[in-house]
Symmetry: C2
Subunit: 441 residues, 2 copies
């Protein structure tokens, strides 16, 4: 039984996907049952790394998603539109969909999965998070027995590459970014990566799977790495930490019995203890740490981007759908007794409640420049104390232009209290500036 | 639709499994459809951590595997017999089976999976390797697009705990083993763990999934950690390595076009470069590193044993089967049009060809005690050279009882050549002893 694949996009990931589909040797035997039927591209004239019969290519993408011969549509074009419309059209035409498009899924997931459930088709998206690292399917299937408490990921390769180089070279952000752009590790417009937006899309997807509720992207608190300085990295190192851009989704401990359950969901640079499993995830590698009951900690690690890893995830999703097609496990209207596979279809309808950041309880790292230091540590301590912020350490770490530099690490405190203390500290005449504020894992 | 589970065994893992099944809150909703129908135990009188209605328990295990009401049999009793016979009986009675029994699967997998395919039932075994770490299902499903080249695992928690403590404390094997036994991290009879037999069972299972061919357990080369000394750990450290018990399965590069493909499959203590992702996997943690084309390296990390993690894997397998039952995806004889899910059923029939260890190409570490050292390094070098063994470093590292201690690290060499050189070296009058020989990753 052969299954026909329609590919939307023949860029890096599309080419990687086609390469696997054309060379089944030593891969899963089911790959031999897959056939590239049509490939949608922007231009027919472009020279390409891959040798495909010219008549497979078309610029008419709509003709692919409506083609009655096609079983599985693979969307690897990226961007919001026309990707969203094409995915919806494919679903409406009874096609199963595989997508690598985290931006579209994070924004239009509710619409897409509702349509898929109605049409009786699957939408799989392993490639949307963590490149080739299997994390979506484990969350859906292998970890289903667990009550998941926390998902923490290093899920943006560009920022992890930049932070790793800043750490290794003692260099500042702007200089490493420029070099990363030159080397192709960062885009010309690096906003989506360095401002944490890409990681926000991905943690929204992971959280919806881990906690079984939809996530409104606007509710994901998001800070990027532009404000991380070489000085902070050096001070963090002396205190036993490395700085990583973490994407965190966490079930809040319910304080009172009738309080509704809330999630924390946030992306920000974070001081990570060197002994933590995520601390040694460097360069463009990604890792996702899941904590649950009763499994404890489990971590998935690998390359988070690139043609090969991403195509691995795309094709594995295609195989999963082909396997269900071969086994007749497709809840289409022609088979009314057939239910969708309950672990692979999207079952949740409600939105998760997200806790406000002021309620977050976490440790903080802050660096201050102070004018005259005799007594200034006392003043800082008093301000923090006024707002019930207890301190783990206060260290005068150096001098800069005649100013003393003081680094503070707090115990776990509510973020609201910490921010209030910070406001009061900013008004002190002996404080020249609050150079940086970072959260600590 | 409720699915009835029959549990064989109520030890650590069985109790953990029952605890999850009895408390579905905040886990996958499908868990609510699972019901513990019967539990087979050795004694009805034993006091237990878990509160189960007394009439669920029975000492008649056969009555469970033949009970027409039971859909899924969960074998968590361990050991070879009666586990094997009960699994086969359950299959013959049309039950799906979930097992954590690596020893039985590594030995009787061919028999068990052949019977399962004939009966149209699934046998799932996520818990057999790496405790709760999802690795079996990713190998079957999420990595199917890849041509897998290598699987390297730290898959025995007891030996990793012992080696980590030896490393941290500078202590010798016997002393740490005794303490680990006292603390319950090692069994009274530690043979299966410290001699590598448990890891051999597990790598045989992983290799059969990764490379799509059955493995004869007797062909897995297996060395344990009894001969690893505190001195070797200290010297390895100075050279930039840690010593880990690795289980390795690898596709051999085919030298000539018509040569049949062979696998390496072996368990032995190994010097691992400190920068390698496996080097920082410590204590009872396990990790499995998979390398494939095009995914590159991907690693799975977590607790490799214990009631919670293992029960997480067992129940996730139960959920997978329940999902297929709910979606009617069961190839039983009453549904003749229904095929088995091609990614979840076992499809391979042949045995993989295993390369002899003498053909292995690897780096070696060796430590020698020599009688008189002027000129002795030259003699060592000549012997190695006679057998085309080229050396990366030769270091005289210390003195012991008037003898010089010399540590050699080779480049990649065929193991056969290295062993021949070693024979020649043993016969040299200036060599007092070959204190240790270890492979280097």
């Amino acid at each position: 039984m052969t299954f026909k694949v329609g590919l939307l996009g023949l860029g890096t990931v599309g080419t990687g996907t086609a390469q696997i589909l054309l060379d089944a040797t030593q891969r899963h035997p089911l790959l031999k049952e897959l056939e590239i039927h049509r490939v949608g591209v922007r231009s027919l004239d472009k020279s390409r790394e891959i040798d495909l019969p010219a008549d497979l290519l078309t610029t008419d993408l709509e003709s692919i998603v409506t083609d009655p011969n096609i079983d599985i549509v693979v969307e690897v074009m990226g961007g919001l539109e026309p990707a969203r419309s094409l995915i919806l059209q494919a679903i409406a035409h009874g096609k199963h969909v595989v997508t690598a498009n985290k931006a579209a899924i994070a924004r239009y997931g509710a619409e897409i999965f509702t349509a898929a459930n109605e049409a009786g088709v699957y939408v799989l998206l392993e490639a949307a998070v963590g490149g080739g690292i299997p994390v979506i399917q484990p969350l859906k299937q292998s970890l289903g027995a667990n009550r998941i408490d926390t998902v923490i990921g290093i899920i943006n390769g560009t920022t992890n590459y930049i932070l790793t180089r800043m750490q290794n070279e003692g260099a500042d952000f702007a200089e490493v970014l420029a070099d990363a752009q030159r080397l192709g590790y960062a885009e010309a417009d690096p906003t989506a990566d360095v401002d944490g937006l890409d990681a926000a899309d991905k943690i929204a997807i992971l959280a919806s799977l881990a906690f079984g509720g939809r996530i409104k992207l606007a509710e994901v608190h998001c800070e990027g790495i532009r404000q991380v300085s070489a000085a902070d990295i050096a001070y963090a190192e002396r205190l036993g930490f490395v700085i990583k851009l973490l994407a965190i989704a966490k079930r809040n401990t319910v304080s009172t019995e009738n309080a509704p359950e809330q999630l924390q969901i946030r992306v920000h640079p974070t001081l990570v203890p060197k002994s933590h499993p995520l601390a040694s995830v460097n360069d463009v590698y990604n890792a996702i740490l899941v904590e649950g009951d009763p499994i404890g900690q489990v971590m998935f690690f690998g390359r988070g981007a690139g043609a090969g890893p991403t195509a691995s995830a795309v094709v594995s999703d295609i195989l999963n759908i082909a396997a269900m097609l071969q086994a007749n496990l497709v809840p289409v209207s022609t088979q009314p007794t057939q239910a969708a596979h309950p672990l692979l279809a999207c079952s949740h309808q409600h939105y998760s409640a997200i806790a406000p950041m002021t309620d977050l309880v976490t440790r903080f790292y802050a660096r201050f420049l102070t004018k005259d230091y005799p007594g200034v540590i006392g003043k800082l301590g008093t301000c923090f104390g006024n707002h019930q912020v207890s301190l783990e350490s206060v260290v005068q770490i150096g001098n800069q232009d005649g100013l003393a530099e003081i680094v503070v690490v707090t115990h776990d405190v509510p973020e609201g209290n910490f921010r209030q203390a910070l406001e009061e500290i900013r008004s002190l005449s002996s404080i020249s500036s609050v150079s940086s504020v970072l959260r600590v894992l």
